[in-house]
Amino acid sequence: MRRDDLRPAVFGTATRDRVLIRLALSENGLHVRELARQIQTSPNAVHRVVIALERAGVVVSRPVGTTRIVLLNRRWYGAVELRALLERLASAYPEVDARARTFRERPRRIGKPL
């Protein structure tokens, strides 16, 4: 993430914006390390953002093995409007959108060559 990025932090911080936008582009959620890699920031920074957003009810997380998958909370009272806004904002973050497009979420058979 560039320090001279002039785009406004709509949700308070640049990391918060990117976390939310990236989650809006995901069907099944992402674990914190992958989320951090996708928005090019540290897992610790993402973890702090996720804890704050989870407490606000905006995102939820569920354990999968030894990690946690984070996703937007579709039960939250503003979920529909938030997703629409984030999808709109994604066009201002082409680098996040581009990484999301190359990230494979669909199933892949074990052992299948790349």
Binding site: A56, G57, R75, W76, Y77, A79, V80
Partner: protein, 185 residues
């Protein structure tokens, strides 16, 4: 006010709601713990979830809950030295899906009180867990509350609410409503 060593969820919930009310805060029992309140033999919860009606100052909540022996561990989360039940305060407002909850039931026990979701709202809340995430436990709890408190659960209001949610978010699977309602018969 002191809590006995063997205090049950309902004892802690009444005590916490009362000390908060005396401190001027309206806290409403919600989530899985509200379900546990209505069907204690079928569902248990170790977290007692309250939403404070208007965001309370943390020091007010801290001071009120300290009189019961509860201390803040993290923001909005309190533990007792000996009791296994934790008190959790998710950020409000009270809402089930897209709709805000503006009325609730108030039960009294001697000089204690408890604000709690109505049985209809517990059914909506638990069903929404199933609807949104496919959580079968939540479906079973919604069914249990609907059966146990059949006279108090407004299924017409429930059905109308599902239609409003579906109109706002078409990605919800409508067949799950039918599964819930047919399981009730």
């Amino acid at each position: 006010m002191t809590l006995a060593d063997g205090a049950a969820l309902v004892d802690v919930a009444f005590a916490a709601c009362t000390v908060l009310a005396r401190a001027g805060e309206t806290a409403v029992l919600c989530g899985g713990s509200a379900a546990a309140y209505y069907v204690p033999d079928l569902y248990q919860s170790l977290d007692i979830d309250f939403v404070v009606e208007v965001g309370a100052a943390p020091h007010v909540v801290d001071r009120a809950l300290a009189t019961l022996g509860y201390a803040r561990v993290t923001e909005g989360y309190y533990r007792h030295a000996t009791l296994r039940y934790a008190l959790a305060f998710p950020i409000g407002p009270l809402a089930i899906g897209r709709e805000f909850v503006t009325s609730w039931r108030t039960d009294r026990r001697a000089d204690l009180l408890l604000h709690v979701y109505t049985p209809t709202d517990v059914v909506r809340d638990r069903f929404l867990h199933y609807w949104a995430w496919g959580d079968r436990t939540a479906l079973d709890v919604a069914l249990a509350v609907a059966r146990t408190h059949a006279a108090e659960v407004d299924l017409d209001a429930f059905a109308a609410w599902t239609r409003r949610e579906l109109a706002a978010d078409a990605s919800y699977d409508p067949s799950r409503i039918g599964r819930f309602l047919s399981s009730l018969q």
